[in-house]
């Protein structure tokens, strides 16, 4: 499927006009209660750095200064107002891709550009987190539609600080999700043909995007019945109820239900003739009456899901896990869930307030409590942290990196299935399992990937830095000029690299090992990149405390 140039222009105009009119719900977001910024307490480099590892794609010296100057809360408030950086407009400005593989690479280029250089760091970080909870992927039937995936990511970006229910609706109606979980083209039953509505989206929207499988307390703990067993949130009949709700939708602008337009940039549209008009049994004993339109059924069904008691803790816990720590305490989850339920202004599902609560929570801000705290940083975010710390760029002003997953086991919207690269409850065998704790990112960490991650970092540091003599136009180089100036003062140099990558929290051992390795080199650049490599590939850097 290929769009002609004119189609793209027309569609982007449509998109722009609809966004300007508040089509994206981000415009109508209620700001989180912020209050007066108290006399700014002194924030250390380490504290600011740790905060920015949680809230951005990697601290930069300038952003660390900014946080130290204005404080955590003011920084978040500033971020809430930043203009969203989107993918599709950028992709539209590129030369038309030769093929879909190249189109997917353009999509990743847009992603890297936004997460490395976008001013809206927090929004980008939350959008990425959402892309790992509400998953679509180019591995499968969306491979041919990079623009559809970019549109999906843009919706996550636009709604990252919006309302959860509106996010859910936007996600549900994107053609990318429609194709990925087969709601697009799903139609009312045909008894004679043994055809019943497709249950794919009905199941996963509940299991993965909203409420999960079992009833939760507000603090995320599992409610047990009298036999000490978890209580399922839904049964097959409820899945069938939702499967009937999600009938009748296909691409906007399709001539007929079975003649799809392949317009990926606008929400799907309904064909009433293909929508099931019977009663539908939903969650919490709600039954939708017969005879409703597809649109009314959809709105009521998403309201039914979004108002379920599980949503605050289920979504809150996963957002904490993506941003702050693998094993948040029940109290922490409970505090975040409470803000999800009511942002202080009576609004449920205000994601900007939720994100703020996550990042300002005492458990996120206090010194790491013990050995169980923090999380393994996602492999791809280790790369973005290095690239941001050392202002990486290519001469052609692009980020052409076609297959991050070969080295990092992940790439934006490229999971193997709707279950993401890793599950929130993954526990590796050994100490973590025995303690009953989890470490989701360990699911993609094994004897192969631990090596490929470090090998890519070695490549990106040793061979792709600003002092390399013969540069390539499309290669991404880190900027080591300010480190080169310090090369005669090894300890100062190590301090600077440690500040950039670790917020200064470097162990004595890593410091002395780094110093000894630097001594081997007699070139200036060799000393610098050795220091960066030592720290960037250390288990210290891989973990966010």
């Amino acid at each position: 499927m290929h769009f002609s140039r004119t189609t793209i222009v027309t569609i982007s105009l449509l998109l722009l006009s609809s966004c300007g009119g508040g089509g994206g719900s981000s415009g109508s977001t209620t700001p989180a209660p912020s209050g007066e910024t108290p006399t700014a307490p002194v924030i250390s480099i380490a504290e600011a750095h740790r905060f920015l590892r949680q809230a951005s794609f990697g601290p930069t010296p300038a952003e660390v200064d900014n946080v130290r100057n204005i404080g955590f809360e003011a920084w978040i408030d500033q971020q809430l107002l930043e203009t969203p950086s989107l993918q599709l407009p950028y992709m539209d400005d590129l030369e038309e891709p030769e093929n879909n593989r190249e189109g997917q690479t353009n999509r990743l280029d847009a992603w890297f550009r936004n997460v490395l250089n976008g001013e809206d760091q927090l929004r980008q970080r939350v959008a990425f987190a959402l892309s790992e909870i509400m998953v679509v992927s180019d591995q499968g039937n969306l491979f041919n539609f990079p623009n559809g995936l970019a549109n999906y990511y843009d919706e996550l970006t636009l709604h990252a600080f919006g309302n959860y229910q509106e996010l859910l609706k936007a996600v549900t109606l994107t053609p990318a999700m429609g194709l990925y979980l087969s709601m697009l083209g799903n139609q009312k039953p045909d008894k004679a043909m043994n055809i019943r509505p497709d249950e794919n989206y009905a199941r996963e929207v509940m299991q993965l995007f909203s409420i999960g499988l079992v009833m939760l307390n507000e603090n995320g703990s599992t409610i047990l019945d009298q036999n000490n067993q978890p209580i399922p949130t839904y049964d097959q009949s409820i899945i069938e109820g939702f499967a009937h709700v999600f009938t009748g939708w296909t691409f906007y602008g399709s001539e007929s239900f079975n003649q799809p337009s392949y317009i990926f940039r606008l929400p799907m549209a309904a064909f009433q003739d293909f929508h099931d008009e019977g009663e539908k049994r939903l969650l919490n004993e709600v039954v939708l009456p017969a005879g409703q339109t597809a649109e009314d059924d959809l709105d009521a069904a998403l309201e039914n899901i979004a108002s379920h008691a599980n949503v605050p803790a289920f979504i809150g816990r996963q957002l904490i896990q993506r941003l702050v720590s693998a094993n948040p305490s029940a109290a922490y989850i409970g505090r975040v869930a409470a803000v999800f339920i009511d942002d202080g202004y009576g609004t449920r599902g205000n994601l900007s307030a939720v994100v703020k609560a996550i990042l300002l929570d005492p458990e996120a801000r206090a010194e790491p409590a013990d050995a169980n705290s923090g999380k393994l940083t996602e492999p791809l975010l280790r790369l973005t942290a290095v690239w941001r710390a050392f202002d990486a760029s290519a001469a052609n002003n692009r980020y052409l990196f076609a297959y991050p997953e070969f080295s990092f086991s992940q790439a934006p919207l490229r999971a193997d299935s709707v279950f993401n690269f890793f599950r929130p409850d993954f526990a590796p065998p050994g100490e973590i399992s025995k303690l009953g704790l989890v470490s989701p990112e360990m699911q993609i960490t094994n004897e192969t990937t631990s090596v490929t991650v470090n090998n890519y970092l070695a490549l990106a540091i040793f061979l792709q830095h600003s002092a390399v003599a013969e540069k390539d136009e499309a290669t991404i180089y880190i900027d080591i000029e300010s480190e080169l100036a310090l090369v005669d003062q090894p300890q100062t140099l190590i301090n600077q690299v440690a500040d950039k990558l670790l917020g200064g929290n470097i162990s004595e051992q890593l410091r002395s090992e780094t110093a000894s390795m630097m001594e081997h080199w007699d070139t200036q650049a060799g000393k610098v990149v050795e220091a960066i490599h030592m720290i960037a590939t250390s288990p210290e850097f891989a973990v966010l405390r």
Binding site: N186, N194, I195, P232, A371, P429, N446, N455, M517, V543
Partner: protein
């Protein structure tokens, strides 16, 4: 066997890392047997991610049964005359055929190297339709959910919180007998899984060409050996955070095993048997190559885990399923041919698992999540050319259908696992540890292994 050098080198490294506190001791779980193994056996698990629609993989060809099948499947039915005929040795009087594109499966079956285990799935106890409808029976939690049912197949945990997998428990239980092995019992080509997670043992992951090794530590990299020594000192120093420790543990294992594996692979040229250039083909190919050099690792028991995806055919099933089943058949046939080539056919058993079977009814152009389904077992030690178990009724609302063509399994995933574990060398008395729900079923061994 001329691998004393290799062993000496490995033991030296192993001792060094162990002295640094990086490598733990053998397993601590109650022992299944005391005698050391002298022979070699290997299980190869091919996990079909997403839920294979196996009721289109093996289809009745006799008119009466075919007509029931076709009435249920409607636009997803395979044409009767297109099915690839097979001649089971233990006929139940009904003719069967494989999917028209599964020529590899037909070939393996007819040559006696493949058996079908019919309608197997996660169960905690035998279930009848009445019991199911009346809520009168114990069921695995979250039937029809991908990751939960995959988890059941791999862990057999039932309603418990057991976090290990059955291959992990096999490795745990045999740990003392296998303590001389130079590689972990469980090896994965496909990353981490519940299946291979043990209490005291962990799997080791390879890539499609062997072990990944650190570029920055290579001898021809500037200061590579010094950098590796520095990295090892950091790992040995320990970390004060569980996530760092888990990562450091993986790094230690990467360092320990990479040369062993890659040196061994260099000893042997490629096998003559060609493999399909698919994800499954490439993964089976590296397993075959590692098996060809297994003596270098001084192993007696190994379990490999391989996944292949695309089986979640909610849409475009008629378009996608032919390729999936062709690839599966071609790959299993290539692997079996390779095992014969290296003379290990009788010692290696390959078996499939999958999230679940799929609905007999259609959602228009695909199928949704079901329950029971057929699995395949191949190898020289398999009683091939047979269909084990009872073929279910494929009638919508028939005796085996709980709703929409979701078929109640007649055999349990525990029985299936126990049969394989028993062949592998786990005593009958220890099988309940491997397959915790086994006591609920009369048959402790399904009899498909010689």
């Amino acid at each position: 066997m001329n691998n004393t050098l290799q062993r000496r080198k490995f033991l030296k490294l192993s001792a060094a890392l162990s002295a640094l506190g990086l490598i733990g001791g053998p397993g601590l779980i109650p022992q299944a047997r005391s005698a050391e193994f002298t022979d070699y056996k290997c299980l190869v698990n091919v996990f079909l991610l997403g839920g294979n629609d196996s009721f289109n993989m093996l289809v009745p060809r006799s008119d009466a049964e075919y007509n029931i099948y076709a009435a249920s499947r409607q636009n997803l039915a395979i044409a009767q005359e297109a099915l690839l005929p097979i001649s089971p040795l233990d006929s139940d009087g009904i003719l069967y055929g494989f999917h028209p594109m599964a020529t590899g499966l037909q070939g393996l079956f007819e040559s006696g190297d493949l058996a079908v285990v019919s309608n197997v799935g996660p169960l905690l106890e035998p279930v009848s339709k009445d019991d199911y409808l009346n809520g009168n029976t114990l069921l695995p939690p979250q039937l029809f959910s991908h990751n939960d049912q995959r988890n059941q197949w791999q862990s057999l945990r039932g309603t418990t919180t057991l976090s290990t997998g059955w291959a992990g428990r096999i490795a745990d239980s045999l740990a003392d007998d296998l303590s001389g092995q130079m590689l972990p019992t469980n090896i994965s080509t496909s990353g981490n899984s519940r299946f291979q997670s043990g209490e005291s043992t962990s799997p080791y992951t390879v890539n499609n060409s062997g072990a990944s090794s650190y570029g920055a530590f290579r001898r021809n990299a500037e200061y590579g050996p010094e950098r590796q020594a520095s990295f090892e000192r950091q790992l040995a120093n320990g970390f004060d955070n569980i996530h760092s420790r888990a990562l450091a543990d993986i790094h230690s294992r990467s360092l320990l095993y990479a040369d062993l594996i890659n040196d061994a692979l260099r000893l042997v040229p490629e096998l003559d048997t060609p493999f399909p250039d698919s994800r499954l083909g490439r993964r089976l190919r590296i397993v075959a190559r590692l098996l060809a050099v297994k003596d270098e690792f001084e192993v007696n028991r190994q379990i490999y885990y391989i996944t292949t995806g695309g089986f979640d055919t909610h849409n475009d099933q008629n378009q996608d399923q032919p390729d999936l089943l062709m690839d599966l058949g071609d790959c299993l046939l290539a692997f079996q041919t390779a095992m014969t080539e290296i003379g290990l056919s009788d010692q290696i058993t390959t078996f499939t698992q999958s999230d679940f079977g799929r609905t007999l009814t259609s959602n228009g152009d695909g199928t949704d999540h079901g329950w029971g389904g057929h699995q395949l077992v191949s190898g020289g030690a398999v009683l091939g050319q047979r269909i084990f178990g009872t073929m279910p009724s494929l009638e919508i609302d028939g005796p085996d259908d709980v709703a929409g063509g979701r078929i109640i399994p007649t055999l349990s995933a525990d029985q299936y696992a126990a049969t394989l574990a028993n062949w592998f060398g786990v005593d009958d008395s220890s099988l309940d540890q491997i397959a915790p729900n086994l006591p609920a079923f009369n048959l402790r061994n399904l009899g498909f292994m010689a």
